[in-house]
Amino acid sequence: MSDPQRDSTSPQEALDLVELHATAAREPVKLWLLGVIMAVMFVGGMFLWANSGGFSSSVYDPARLAAGKDNGAPKPAPDPRMLSRRLYMQNCGACHQPNGMGIPGTYPPLVGSEWVLGQEWHGDNHLVRVVLHGLQGPITVEGRSFNNVMTPWGGVLKDDQIAAILTYVRSEWGNSAPPISKEFVAQVREETRERRAAWTQKELQEIPRQVSPPPLPEPTPPPTSSPSPVQSPPAA
């Protein structure tokens, strides 16, 4: 509860305030406070001295400038697994879920799926065909049956992207199957050039099983054994 009488400063009360403030000059200065203030100003000043670029209008962010200077050194290649994961999340994750488990009864799982791992009658050529042209009608995955439509991706994704995604899903979440090469995807795409409709399980079962040859060693990018440094976030 505030006291309204305190609120309206009468001239007398105001003079009391003046009196009160007259003692302020005689109050000892808090030394710790001055010390902290000077320390803060010192740190701030040093930072400004080191990072102001001489207050020149043509000097930009020092970190960026340093990155632009050493043009001789090649930029670290982005981690291919990261890019594959990103492609998967962008294109496949919505149905098959980020964890690859799908949605029971609606979207089949990729984790442990014989379609993905190339077990039983399934070959790598079937997997690539499914991605290229889609799949429809009743299918069986891990003993459970699904009846839904998968859209074709052949027109959206390039061979190397499809290879990257398939290699990713075959080696993530505990899956372990050999990679799919982009040459193999290109080969299957060539074989099925005339195909327009989505595949059915019955049609696929009639095609003999093939296995992707191991991908050719890439000449340019360095081996992925050393983790690539975290990318700096994009600037404004």
Binding site: P4, D7, S8, H21, E27, L33, V36, N51, R86, M89
Partner: protein
């Protein structure tokens, strides 16, 4: 001095012969407008917040789309709530600290009417045709010009009150008030001319926009809020601020660094290195005025038992002040800004500054003056108390949620393996909780609205 009596009786003998003091009544009318805009602005922002969580909400209605609701809500909060409360605070406190008053409030009432009308039409224009994408410059030119003219009409009185002061000496509050009085036209004219009317070349617009948007809080609303705190605390306790001899350093460091620290948003941006560095360094150096103001206020509050409502407001306000500038300084630190500059943490800084610091301090001053229009009734006190606690809980909760969500969002954005849209999905639960916080804040604002309007109605029906 009996409660509920008319101004004339109350002020007899204190002002020059034949004068009545129009200022408490003026403050009441200004607070009534300001509190209304607070409720309106928050309601608009909450509808926008619901659309973030559920994009289909009010989907087909063009004037209630997210891109129009947000600028309308923010402009209502800054030009309606914050600025009107600040203008009233400036006039009221300069009168109290100078021992003078205005002979008549007629000009100020006209200005208030013009301001409200311009803002109302301006907000309708934003909702009808959309803004221009420049934060706090979205109001159409007619509204900005009218608001500026109305401001000048009142600022003349502010200057006259300061010039004609009868009490010797200038107190800490007055420094901040006069500085803010000068800063508002500087900001509004510069921002409008350089960005809207005669736009400067593209690359230079971003720093000007950052300076302007930061300045509306740092140079305009924040100094007035500090002045309100520095006025309330000594008045309630009858003691002056602790470490008063440092408060001059506090004032000058505040005004100097506050003018620059809006540039902290440009860290990592396409501006010369010195601008971004100044932005971070001044944000960091804001620790000096924060520290001094904290020692000023908490040195007096220490051990006090007179915890009146305005005093609680002032204490919470100074806490929110420290929190705002601490968070802004951390966010402007270049390695941190690189990850978190474009996350909900930036929203949290604005919410804590405008919703916490400004709302609590200016709300505290309004509640400090209101009792002279109310008989000592418990409902008014309860409303005031609810406003305080609901604001603290709502704003505090929303800020914590936004910061936590922003941390997650920042790391997700910098992870090349995570698609951008997923980095937004991670924040959704936190945004939902922050929305609940905003709803609590709205409830607190409605309590302030009810208290002010009850006092206004009581004042109108009580014959003088």
């Amino acid at each position: 001095m009996s409660l509920g009596s008319s101004d004339t009786v109350e002020n007899s003998g204190r002002w020059p012969e034949g004068w009545t003091d129009p200022l408490p009544r003026l403050l009441l009318w200004f607070s009534a407008s300001a509190a209304t805009w607070l409720v309106v602005g928050l309601a608009l922002l909450i509808v926008a917040g619901v659309q973030v969580v559920n994009p289909a909400f009010l989907g087909g209605i063009s004037f209630l789309t997210y891109g129009r609701l947000v600028p309308a809500g923010i402009n209502a909060l800054v030009y309606g709530w914050g600025s009107l409360a600040a203008v009233a605070t400036i006039l009221y406190l300069l009168s109290r600290l100078g021992g003078v008053t205005m002979p008549s409030g007629r000009l100020a009432y006209c200005a208030l009417g013009a301001w409200n009308l311009a803002l109302l039409l301006g907000l309708c224009a934003i909702l009808a045709i959309g803004g221009n994408g420049l934060l706090l410059l979205e109001l159409p030119p007619f509204a900005n010009v009218t608001i500026l003219l109305a401001y000048v009409a009142m600022a003349i009185w502010g200057y006259a009150l300061f010039r004609g002061r009868r009490i010797p000496g200038v107190f800490a509050s007055s420094w901040y008030l006069v500085a803010a009085l000068l800063c508002f036209p500087w900001l509004v004219v510069t921002g409008n001319v350089l960005l809207v009317w005669l736009p400067i070349p593209g690359p230079a617009q971003a720093p000007v926009a950052a300076w302007f948007a930061g300045g509306m809080l740092n140079l305009w609303l924040a100094p007035v809020s500090l002045a309100a705190i520095f006025y309330i605390v000594p008045q309630v306790l009858g003691r002056r601020l602790a470490a008063y001899n440092l408060s001059q350093l506090g004032f000058w460091s505040f005004m100097l660094f506050a003018a620059w620290c809006g540039m902290g948003r440009m860290v990592g941006g396409p501006v010369p290195a010195w601008m971004a560095s100044m932005g971070f360094v001044t944000s960091f150096l804001m620790m000096i005025p924060v520290l001094i103001a904290g020692v000023n206020v908490f040195g007096v509050l220490k051990g006090t038992s007179e915890w009146t409502l305005p005093l609680r407001h002032a204490a919470a306000g100074i806490g929110a002040f420290a929190g705002t500038y601490l968070l802004a300084a951390i966010l402007a630190f270049p390695p941190v800004a690189g990850i978190f500059n474009f996350t909900d943490i930036a929203v949290a800084v604005g919410l804590l500054g405008l919703g916490g610091f400004v709302t609590l301090s200016l709300g505290g001053l309004i509640q400090f003056v209101l009792p002279q229009f109310e008989r000592r009734d418990s409902l008014a006190e309860k409303l005031g108390s609810w406003h305080l606690w609901l604001t603290i809980i709502g704003v505090g909760g929303a800020v914590v949620c936004l910061v936590l969500g922003g941390i997650l969002q920042g790391f997700a954005q910098s992870d090349p393996g995570i698609v951008f849209s997923h980095s937004v999905d991670y924040v959704m639960p936190f945004r939902f909780l922050a929305l609940l916080g905003l709803l609590i804040f709205l409830a607190g604002a409605i309590c302030l609205f009810l208290r002010v309007h009850r006092a206004l109605v009581r004042h109108l029906i009580t014959p003088p």
